[in-house]
């Protein structure tokens, strides 16, 4: 038993290096995708201190809008632009109808509002687009679809899907752009002020409504990117909403308010769950990755309760 736990996995890694590299690559890709989802949660949380329960359905809604428009004859790139517009309208609508009436309400009220928003978007999305899964318009968007295999003589091969490489590049670009936007601009500073205290931010002339609309729009863009990437790997369906909650351990690990935390947390969870599942999962019958991610996050929490990059909050009594 001790051999199976402490020795055998490493022997396997040595004996099948191509497979180990493949596991690392899959862990990296999963981590990037988890990070993308987590980013959407982080943006909303930073601005309003609320966990946006609707982030998962926003991923589905954005993906379905894109594919649905294309199915109705709208060229792919125009559909992409129009979908961005739809996410903008959604952001504005959420700010006007859901968030504005709830300014300065307890966070639990805002959380409940996002749960309500989730159910609305599920029903509305199913009415407009139907419940059938749709295939992502990967090729029409100019995204690569093939794969490249690197052979290591008789020691096997590593297969890289081009769409996964594209996902990694897009994630890096998005994170960089969002990082610059929120750290180097006035809006970014205003956002941090809003996150700290709604009333204080209002008192110094920051438009809470404008900030919330911008942040929900940014979360919508992240949802669109996530929908395209996840949709390309399987399809765009309402089942994707559940996948979005894979971001939870990422948030616990990386902190709810940190963009770099979402990225690093995503990668740790991605690598951790794939390596854990592939090399240790067999010891308990497999299928451990769904809960292993939480175990990893909880272990980190033992040492950093605020998450890796979360803000340490000291409240005086």
């Amino acid at each position: 038993m001790l051999y199976d736990i402490f020795i055998d996995p490493f022997v396997q890694m040595y004996q099948m290096p191509d497979f180990f590299l493949q596991v690392l690559w899959e862990g990296f890709v999963a981590g990037i995708l988890y990070a993308l989802i987590a980013l959407g949660f982080v943006l909303i949380f930073k601005a309003s201190g609320v966990f946006n329960f609707a982030q998962g359905i926003m991923v589905v809604f954005a993906g379905l809008t894109l594919v649905g428009l294309n199915e109705n004859g709208v060229p792919a790139y125009l559909a992409l632009i129009l979908t961005i517009g739809v996410m903008g309208v959604l952001a504005y609508g959420v700010e006007r109808v859901v968030m504005r009436p709830l300014v300065n309400q307890p966070e639990i009220i805002l959380l409940m509002a996002t749960i309500g928003l989730t159910y609305f978007l599920v029903g509305f999305g199913e009415f407009v687009f139907g419940g059938e899964p749709k295939q992502m318009i990967t090729e029409q968007l100019g995204l690569p679809t093939g794969s490249t295999a690197f052979e290591f003589g008789d020691r096997g091969l590593v297969i890289l899907q081009h769409i996964d490489i594209a996902a990694a590049v897009i994630a890096v670009v998005m994170v960089t752009a969002l990082g610059v936007f929120f750290n180097k601009t006035r809006i970014g500073r205003a956002l941090r002020a809003v996150a700290d205290d709604h009333q204080a931010a209002l008192s110094v002339g920051i438009s809470l409504n404008q900030i919330w609309a911008i942040v929900w729009f940014a979360a919508g863009l992240v949802a669109l990117a996530t929908g395209i990437m996840w949709g390309a790997r399987s399809d765009v369906s309402f089942a994707l909403e559940i996948v979005a909650f894979k971001a939870l351990p990422v948030l616990i690990l990386g902190g709810f308010t940190s963009i770099p935390g979402a990225i690093v947390g995503g990668l740790i969870i991605g690598f951790g769950e794939k390596i854990g599942e592939l090399y240790w999962g067999g010891l308990v019958g497999g299928g451990i990755e769904s809960w292993l991610a939480y175990i990893i996050a909880l272990i980190f929490l033992l040492f950093r309760p605020q998450g890796l990059f979360g803000e340490r909050i000291i409240e005086r009594i």
Binding site: M16, Y119, G123, V128, G131, E132, Q135, Q161, R233, I242
Partner: protein, 443 residues
């Protein structure tokens, strides 16, 4: 203007459907035979559920439009949305059973398991066509449950038999590895006892790859395990979004698709097409017709779809899952017709329907008469055997459509039947006091 109306309607539906979880179109009359249809057009399993729901609805609606119902009595159809959720399924059952329901088709093994104890109490049979509890085939223990034409154990035995044929005989399976990827729910776990028994009998290694419901679209770990384990064949028991994702992942790891075989619920057109060109050769079991070239399907198109009395996209008529839904309704309709003949009544009850289903005899002549010659293997239900262990065939995806790739293959009844009887006895013991059969046998 249209879009504004659609938006407004969408908002209303979102609020209504989203929160109640059930959309029904009540159609009932005193002089009609009432058939509730438990369907799911929403949620993670809608990709499979919509086609089944359309097929079920359209065939029965066609009988209403073309023939004025069955035996001169219209069918009152009512759909109830379950979302493939056992709790919602039971809610649908409770909400509709008092309206004179003749039979329930849960389209979920989870819902079926919930309804099995209720069926005998409420005197309404459950038709779980090719799904549900395999042991329910034992009519002496489960007089109210019907899983004709086959149980999951029949299906699993056919897969192993087919793989044995490919290897030159079942004896050549010794030392082979057969992977089993399945939805980690009652449905996916149902064939495991049979597969484990066959693995022991024929000496192959059974490798299991469970896919949790929440991970249906995130299967890379399972398929990395497949790549490492290098099974000789892969067998799939998937549903909903699990199927297309699995096919894509199999293509991704370059698994030989001609050695990847799905159960009849992993046989959807969308399931296979998701894998693109690489999915060529993917196989699946089937027991319902391939294609739309059947007079009854033409009648559906003419009387229902083209007449705007269905939400079916005409291009999906003839797809595997649509045809599966049609076959389900053929069994319902023939059950009603048989019950009318047996009882002399036009408007029947659930008890009459049970008699009709138990006396079901859908032979070649009757299939031809229905405009469905060759659509299914002739099937017969007896009081002892509510499934019948009927032959199934293998279909293969050619990159664009399914084509039949084998003759009809008989399940291993010699292995399956004793197991079914043992499992039925075990179920009755675990659920004691399970009522002894008192229902009359019509044949």
């Amino acid at each position: 203007m249209k879009s504004i109306k659609q938006f407004a309607l969408g908002t209303a539906v979102a609020l209504g459907v989203g929160f109640s979880g059930a959309m029904t179109t009540a159609v009932q009359a005193e002089d009609a035979n009432y058939v509730p249809l438990l369907t799911y057009r929403t949620g993670p399993y809608a990709g499979s559920g919509i086609h089944i729901a359309n097929g079920m609805h359209d065939y029965l609606q066609m009988l209403n439009e073309r023939d004025g119902g069955i035996g001169g009595v219209k069918l009152a159809l009512e759909e109830c949305e379950t979302g493939y959720n056992a709790q919602k399924g039971v809610e649908c059952y409770e909400a509709t059973k008092g309206k004179g329901a003749l039979v329930y088709n849960p389209y979920s093994t989870g819902i079926t398991l919930q309804l099995i104890p209720k069926a005998g109490v409420d005197k309404i049979p459950v038709l779980s066509m090719g799904y549900g509890l395999s042991a329910a085939a034992v009519g002496s223990t489960f007089p109210w449950i019907f899983n004709v034409p086959d149980t999951y154990w029949d299906g699993a035995s056919v897969v192993i038999k087919y793989i044995g044929e490919q290897e030159g005989g079942l004896e050549n399976l010794k030392g082979k590895k057969i992977g089993y990827i399945f939805l980690d729910a009652g449905y996916g776990r149902e064939p495991l006892p049979l597969l484990e028994q066959l693995a022991e009998k024929y000496g192959f290694e059974l490798l299991q790859y469970p896919v949790p419901g929440a991970e249906m679209q995130n299967q890379s770990s399972q398929w990395l395990n497949v790549r490492r384990d290098r099974p000789d064949y892969m067998v799939m028991w998937g549903w909903g979004a699990m199927n297309p994702t699995a096919v894509k992942e199999a293509v991704k790891i370059r698994f030989p698709m001609d050695k990847f075989i799905g159960v009849w619920w992993s046989a959807g057109d969308d399931d296979a097409s998701a894998g693109g060109e690489g999915a060529k050769g993917y196989k699946a079991l089937n027991f319902s017709g391939v294609g739309a070239d059947f007079p009854a399907l033409n009648d559906i198109k003419k009387h229902v779809v083209d007449a705007g009395k269905s939400s079916t996209d005409a291009s999906t008529i003839g797809s595997t899952l649509y045809n599966r839904g049609v076959l389900n309704s053929v069994i319902i309709a023939e059950g009603i017709r048989t019950a009318q003949e047996l009882t002399g009544k036009k408007v029947i009850t659930g008890e009459d329907m049970r008699l009709g289903l138990e006396a079901l005899n859908l032979d070649e002549a009757r299939l031809a008469e229905l405009g469905l010659k060759g659509f299914a293997h002739p099937m017969k239900v007896t009081c002892e055997d509510h499934a019948g262990s009927h032959p199934v065939f293998i279909q293969e995806w050619d990159g664009k459509k399914w084509r039949q790739a084998s003759d009809w293959i008989e399940p291993m009844t010699d292995v399956v039947r004793p197991l079914l009887e043992a499992a039925a006895a075990e179920y009755a013991e675990k659920n004691a006091p399970w009522p002894a059969r008192t229902e009359p046998c019509p044949n």
